[in-house]
Each structure stands twice: as structure tokens, then as C-alpha cells.
């Protein structure tokens, strides 16, 4: 996902020299192609994220389309006030790229688990929060936000995510995309996910279908603004909606869906699948930690089956 984003940025940057990439001294091996292709549009700001973000705001206010780049919580929580005051309040064209949303850097420990960022960034006015589910969504999202004025948070996974099989004719900020229909099966649910946990969610949905459960699956590459129409439509047609995110269940994607559902007011029940409000002290890979906290395919399947068999 990150490599396809950088490839896309190089293409865009070659057409538009006001596109600038500013890194907080991270991206070894990832950013090199951009650095080599467009050295005058690349800035390494050093390990100093507050300054990186303030500099990006200043460059953006001079007419540049700036992307900041770092991993985990460094481009977001470490410099949150610079995002709020310097970028968002001034509606500066700064796109904050985080590589490593969720447990990508699982083995490195809690400092590197980006598991509250969606909630925090979602709370900032003027900030779009975009969490692509696969490389296709990521490429389209980058193209879109590069040409959209304002501050945006782009939360990526790692490298090597599979492309899920879906066709997006036109990517729009704030739109969810349907991956499969529930059909006319008597037992059916809606499953929404955001971000790279899409890969686990797709496996889970395949399995649920095989077990005779109708699944209407959506990927939400945008958490803010959220696609209210899809949520309301599903609320009219399903008794149970499940949300899946590699993020704390407090304030994140599930919460965003809950806000819409509650105000809309059908009897649909929402079930949030995510990290149940704790810091993960276990050591292990992303795959291992997803399993431990119950957000891998197996965890999703079990949760759905438990609920609908109640």
C-alpha cells in the first residue's frame, strides 16, 4: 500500500511541481524513488515532527500541495497541535501520511501501535480522515486528496496488502464502496470495515457466505466525512450491522457509524469489532496481534455468528 502511494505521488509530482513531500526522517527504502525522481520536491525535516508539520503548513500557505510522511503516531499525535492550529484552522493544503495504522509495527511495542489516531484526527474540524483498505483505494485516495484543498489525514497500512476484488469507477471522499450483496438469504448481516483490516474482513465474509449467511460488505476508505447514505440504507434493510477496524473501539470508525445510526433511529443493532479499549502489551506480528485481540478473520466470523445465533 505504501509503495503504491509513493508511486502515485511520483506520477503526480512529475506533473505538478507544487507537490512536495516532507518526511520526518522515515521511509528508508520507501521514499527513495521519490527522492531520486524529484529531489527539489523532497524535504527531510529530521526527527522533529512538530517542526515538520509547521513547515508543511507554511509551505502550503505559499501555494504548495504538501504531504508529510512518518510512521505510527509520529506524524499525528506527536504534533497534534500543529495539525490543529497551523494546518486545519488555516485550511492549509497539508496531507498527513501515516504508514503503520493499527498493529503494522506490532513487534516494536505499544509506542508504535497506531490505535487511537482515527478517533483523535476525526475530532478536528476541517480534517478529512481517509483509511484506504487496499492499494487500489490508496492510489485513488492520493490522487483525489492531492487535488482537494484542505487538510487531510491518510492512514495507510504497510507494504504488501492484497488488492481486494473491487472496481471503483470514481473515488470520492466520503463514499463507501460495496464489495458484495447479501442476496435474498433469510439470514443476513451488513459488514463495514475501514483501513487495511479489509483483508481480514474479506476472508471472514467469504467464509460466512460459505456457511449460508448473506453478507452485504462495504469498505469505508473515508471515516470523515462518513457515508451516511450507506449507513441509513443498511439500517433500513438489516437487523445487525458490524463494523471492523484495527483501532480502539472508542471514538473510531464504529463510533462514527454509531453516531449516524443513533440519530437516524431504526432498531438496527450495531456491533463494533475493534480493540476493546486497552493498550496491547503482547509482543508479536500484526497477524498475531490481530488474532490475539479478536479482529482477524476468525475473530470476525466468531463475533458475527455469536450475535446472529443469539
Amino acid at each position: 500500500m505504501r509503495d503504491s502511494v509513493i508511486r502515485t505521488l511520483i506520477e503526480l509530482g512529475q506533473q505538478d511541481k507544487s507537490l512536495k513531500l516532507v518526511t520526518g526522517d522515515l521511509g528508508f527504502g520507501v521514499l527513495k524513488p521519490f527522492w531520486e525522481a524529484l529531489p527539489n520536491q523532497f524535504v527531510n525535516a529530521g526527527i522533529a515532527e512538530q517542526n515538520m508539520t509547521g513547515v508543511a503548513a507554511g509551505m502550503a500557505l505559499e501555494g504548495n500541495k504538501v504531504f508529510t510522511y512518518s510512521i505510527g503516531n509520529f506524524p499525528t499525535l506527536r504534533c497534534l497541535e500543529q495539525i490543529r492550529n497551523d494546518c486545519a484552522y488555516h485550511n492549509a493544503n497539508v496531507n498527513v501520511i501515516c504508514v503503520g495504522g493499527g498493529y503494522v509495527y506490532g513487534s516494536l511495542g505499544m509506542s508504535h501501535h497506531a490505535t487511537e489516531d482515527i478517533a483523535v484526527l476525526r475530532a478536528l474540524p476541517n480534517v478529512a480522515v481517509i483509511c484506504p483498505g487496499d492499494p487500489t483505494e490508496a492510489e485513488l485516495a492520493v490522487k483525489k486528496i492531492a487535488h482537494t484543498q484542505g487538510t487531510c489525514y491518510l492512514r495507510l497500512g504497510r507494504g504488501g496488502e492484497k488488492r481486494v476484488n473491487h472496481v471503483i469507477e470514481e473515488f470520492e471522499i466520503g463514499k463507501a464502496y460495496k464489495l458484495r450483496d447479501a442476496g435474498d438469504k433469510p439470514l443476513k448481516v451488513a459488514v463495514f470495515s475501514t483501513g487495511a483490516i479489509l483483508e481480514e474482513t474479506a476472508i471472514a465474509c467469504d467464509s460466512l457466505e460459505e456457511q449460508g449467511i448473506g453478507v452485504e460488505q462495504y469498505s469505508f476508505p473515508t471515516v470523515k466525512p462518513i457515508d451516511k447514505e450507506v449507513i441509513k440504507d443498511c439500517a433500513e434493510r438489516f437487523d445487525h450491522i458490524f463494523t471492523v477496524e484495527e483501532h480502539n473501539i472508542v471514538g473510531g470508525f464504529g463510533s462514527a457509524v454509531a453516531e449516524v445510526l443513533c440519530e437516524y433511529g431504526t432498531g438496527t443493532k450495531l456491533h463494533r469489532i475493534g480493540i476493546n479499549d486497552f493498550y496491547c502489551i503482547e509482543v508479536g506480528s500484526q497477524k498475531y496481534l490481530r488474532k490475539q485481540v479478536g479482529i482477524n478473520a476468525e475473530g470476525i466470523i466468531n463475533k458475527v455468528k455469536d450475535i446472529i445465533s443469539e
Binding site: 525535516a45 529530521g46 509547521g54 503548513a57 507554511g58 505559499e62 497551523d86
Partner: protein
Amino acid sequence: MTSEQLAWLIRRHGVEMTALSGGSHIGAILSVADIMGVLYTDILKFDKDNPEWDGRDRFILSKGHSGASVYAALAENGFFSVEELKTHYADGSRLSGHVSHHLPGVDFSTGSLGHGLSVAAGRALAAKQDGKSFRSFVVLGDGECNEGSVWEAAEFANHFKLDNLVAIVDHNHMQSLDYCNNTLEVDMEKRWKGFDWNVIVVDGHDHDALRKALTDTSNPEHKPTVVIANTVKGKGISFMQNDILWHYRFPHQGWEYNCAVNELHQSIPEGVVDPYTPDGCPEMIPEPDGLKHTVSETYHPTYYTREVEER
């Protein structure tokens, strides 16, 4: 308008705006008044009829709490009416206590310390990349230099040889609760030299010295420039000078206001008319008890004890 005239008017507006609004930071407004006066007469390039003019010098007041000083400088330069200054802090006003960019002539909102230098550096870098010739100015507080982000930006600006970046430190030697050196002791000059900037130290109330330092900041090594302007907090009103109380207290109606205005009138530059009290105020003398509550020893005894004991 001369810089001396503008600086005087900034002080006079500052007294009026804080008195009317009950607003804070008159001490910091008075310390920075001469710096702002010089910048907005003899240094900054701007066009009041076209505030977004691309050739303008960029300016950020990073110590946003002295917002009244930039509002006064802009109003006196015709960006908006002087009358509007009286709405400072008021319901529905555009003039927030800390600087707001929702006003013509203000490029950037501040209020949280330690942000302005990075943004000014980003603008300076963009100017270099785009071959533009404007300079990027930023005024910092000395207390503000406690913020680590200032030093992130200092490293960055030096590395990228941003010789079009000019920082001015309003070094009034006091911060929110105490003197700077009682808070986190620092040698301002040494610190900026340590970051390898082009460092110029001046008397921040000497207009000729400020002009000389700020007119041409180019240097053979292409370093960013910092002008450390040694100032006095509360400068120009004797009972406010060097008294931490006036970081937050506003001049109350009665002797505080009258004595402040009359003291400014003693040094009114030729050609300036006081827009509020053209003939000054009725004479009043400081109340003995009143004066007592304006000295620091009685204002915040817990932190001041150490200083008193040491004397």
C-alpha cells in the same frame, strides 16, 4: 508615519484595548511596541489595499498574546478602521486576544507558543524553491523559547540556509510567572549562536538600532538571522515596568488608567494625536494601597518567596 509615532500609538491603543476589555498582556504589548513600530513603518513590505499581495513580506507574531500590538499597527496602517480596535475581546469581534488571521493583514493565527518559527521557516523554504524574494519575519517571546519546537525549527532553518528568514526575540526577561532566569535560566545569545544562526543583539527600544539590524539581513554564509531585542516588560509606564503582575493585570479605571495615559503623554511624539484622550487624563496620584497591590511581592507570594529571601 514614523516608527516613533507608530510605537507610541501602539502603546496608547494597548492601554485602551486592555482597559476596555479587561484583557491581559499589557506588559508584553508595551515591550514589543517599538519592534512592531519599526517593522510596520520601515521594514515590512505590504500593501494595505491588497493584503494578500504576493510580493509582501510575510509576518507572524508567534507570541500571539501581544495581539493588540499587531492589530494597532495594522489599523494605523489602514488595513481596517482604528475604531474597530475598541472591540478587542468583545462578543462578535474579529479581534481575539491572541492573533487571528480572520483580519486583513494577518497572515497567520497564533496563540499557542512555539508554532510561528516553523511556519515562517516553511514559508521561507517555499520562497527559495519558487524563486520569490520576500522575507519571512517572525516575532518570538523569550518565554516562548522554552518550547522545544522553537529549537526544532532553529535547526531546520539553519540546515536549509534560510537567509530570508528573520526572527526577532522580544527579550523582556520575564515570562508568565516570574523572570525567565528564575524559570529556566538561559543565555539567549549563546543559545542562538549554538544553533549557528546569524545573531544580532540590540536594544529593543532603540529604533535606529532595530532599523539597522533589520534592514538588510543577508549574510555571506546564508544563515537565518535572529535579532535578540533586549526590552523591558511594561516599557513606557513606570509602574508596569519589570513587574510580573502586568503580564495579566489590565489598567483599571481610576488612577491606574489615568496615570498610564498621562505618563505616555509625557513622551508623545510630535504630530501624534491621542485618539482617546487628546489632552490626557485628569491628574491622579497612585493610591498607597493601590500601588501596593501592583507589586509582585504581594501578587504571588509563593513563587516570589525565594527571590525575597535571597535579597
